[in-house]
């Protein structure tokens, strides 16, 4: 059928219900979305009413208090240290898990599934919640933040490490086996050289994420610039808050830039 020189070119749905099926599915999705929107109390009227207040908040932030920088240096560096050591601990925590969480190296499918679930659990708990737990356990300070990032990061690193191991070329491994080389040496000389570039990429990606996370850990007392951010807000020093946000932005952008350069170099 041609209308005004245009033709509707779509392959008809292959299901038994045909176009009716698409219609019903679409209607169901629309109802579900409407339901969730109600639950989330999405209200454009509220948004419109709130706009002037947002503007007020922003104008109170201006201009940022650059003098506050003197106080921020230490806190900013503390966040960076937390990110770096959170990453390092995360790597070491992930190492023992990742070999067993890789389908091709795991001694038994049950071990593989168990290890994957352990890693999922580590990854499943948000850094802030982990930080709260560690602050309660070992007290306020950056080390609680390091541990929080390490546990969450190990979950993610372990999974990515394991997936890199699953993607290796199995040929060399077979050659090692045929030469009677034991499991440990096979991992050191056959597996690690193959996964190293990918692992390094993953580690730097995790460092990026950790820098981002370390800037908010201070909100729950786990060290770093987040503490300054939250206290300046509580004291209504919005110009100081603006300075904190600027520093956080600068840190995150700088690590992303440096880390993506390094990752490009490894490949």
């Amino acid at each position: 059928m041609t209308v005004l020189g245009m033709r509707f070119v779509v392959t008809p749905p292959s299901g038994r219900l045909g176009w009716w099926g698409i219609g019903i599915a679409g209607a169901l999705a629309a109802v579900a979305l409407w339901w969730t929107a109600r639950g989330a109390q999405i209200n454009m009227e509220n948004l419109a009413r709130g706009l002037p207040y947002m503007w007020d908040f922003l104008s109170r932030m201006m201009p940022p208090n650059f003098g506050f920088m003197n106080k921020l240096w230490n806190a900013a560096f503390e966040s960076l240290y937390v990110a770096i050591w959170g990453t390092i601990f995360g790597v070491f925590l992930a190492l023992p898990f990742c070999f067993f969480a890789a389908r091709n190296l795991s001694p038994h499918p049950a071990v593989f599934h168990f290890m994957r679930q352990v890693l999922n659990c580590m990854r499943g708990i948000n850094e802030i919640i982990l930080a709260l737990i560690f602050v309660a356990a070992i007290g306020l300070g950056p080390f609680a933040g390091v541990l929080a990032l390490a546990v969450h990061g190990a979950g993610m690193l372990g999974k990515f490490f394991a997936e890199a191991i699953e993607d290796i070329d199995n040929g060399p491994i077979e050659a090692f086996r045929s030469a009677g080389v034991g499991r440990f040496k096979t991992v050191v000389f056959g597996v690690l050289p193959q996964v190293l570039p990918q692992w390094l990429g993953t580690i730097f990606y995790r460092l990026e994420t950790n820098v981002r996370q370390a800037t908010v850990l201070g909100m729950v007392g786990a060290g770093g610039i987040g503490f300054e951010l939250i206290s300046s807000m509580k004291l209504f020093q919005y110009q100081d808050t603006a300075m904190c946000i600027l520093v956080i932005l600068a840190m995150v952008l700088a690590t992303d830039l440096i880390s993506s350069r390094i990752r490009a170099m490894i490949r």
Partner: protein, 272 residues
């Protein structure tokens, strides 16, 4: 000297190898000829324990090794293997790839510290010398050409000081010129060191040129086991059913006439 006795292997109901028996003298170059799926690869893998055979035994240096112990290094001299895709670790140096052949006897801790016995390093370098690649020992494996990588594969097998080298389609992914160089090295090593070679091939021409003896495998059975000059067109048709290749007849005829068995000109290439 290695003797295979009544080796059999089945995957579920599909029998891949029926009761295979064959023997190879020390320093003999045996070619196993057969189409894909004839069981050539399975045969070699059973011989070095990568696959466990269902029954049978092998005799190495007069010592009987039963199916369960094949590949067990305490109970037998090593049987080394060369693979179609060379199976080198691409990011490791050539030397370290060859050292894999010595690694079975190295302590894990020392290996982790990248420490190897002088003696093992000498054996590895000597193996590289035999494939004429000693000057590339420090290069990364992936910087070498396909033919050179396969020669490193040969050196790795040599470094194991094996009784037998099994070569599974070693030249299947190489061009004709490189293939002949690689097979030339393998043949020379076989003659000079007295290591037996069992080499899977699917190209009849290479089998005729390099094989001292040819074993024809079809459907998991040995249907031919003799010197290349006994190989007839009829046998080739039994190994490759339905083959239509007018050149094959010519190949067999010319081969009979110009067979300079002992040391082919390739040996010169090898030493060059």
């Amino acid at each position: 000297m290695i003797e295979v006795r009544n080796l059999a292997k089945a995957y579920g109901k599909r029998t891949v190898l029926h009761d295979i028996s064959l023997s190879v003298r020390a320093g003999e170059f045996l070619v196993v000829l057969g189409p894909s799926g004839a069981g050539k690869s399975t045969l070699l893998r059973c011989l070095n324990g990568l696959i466990h055979a269902d029954k049978g035994s092998i005799v190495i240096d007069g010592k009987v090794v039963n199916v369960g112990d094949i590949g067990n290094r305490e109970k037998q001299r090593p049987i080394a293997m060369i693979f179609q895709q060379h199976n080198l670790v691409k990011r490791l140096s050539v030397l370290k790839n060859v050292l894999v052949g010595r690694m079975a006897g190295v302590s894990s801790l020392l290996a982790l510290l990248q420490l190897f016995r002088d003696e093992d390093v000498e054996i590895a370098l000597d193996a590289l010398r035999q494939v004429d690649l000693e000057h590339k020992a420090e290069m990364r494996a992936d910087q070498l050409s396909g033919g050179e990588q396969q020669r490193v594969g040969i050196a790795r097998a040599l470094a194991q000081r094996p009784a037998v080298i099994l070569a599974d389609e070693p030249v299947a992914s190489l061009d004709p010129k490189t293939s002949r160089v690689v097979l030339g090295f393998l043949q020379r090593i076989c003659k000079e060191t007295g290591i037996s070679v069992i080499c899977n091939l699917h190209q009849v021409e290479y089998a005729l040129e390099f094989g001292e003896r040819i074993v024809g495998l079809s459907g998991g059975n040995i249907i031919f086991d003799d010197t290349p000059d006994k190989l007839t067109l009829d046998t080739i048709h039994r190994i490759y059913p339905g083959l239509e290749d007018p050149g094959m007849e010519r190949l067999l005829r010319t081969d009979r006439k110009t067979k300079p068995q002992a040391v082919p000109p390739l040996a010169r290439v090898a030493t060059a």
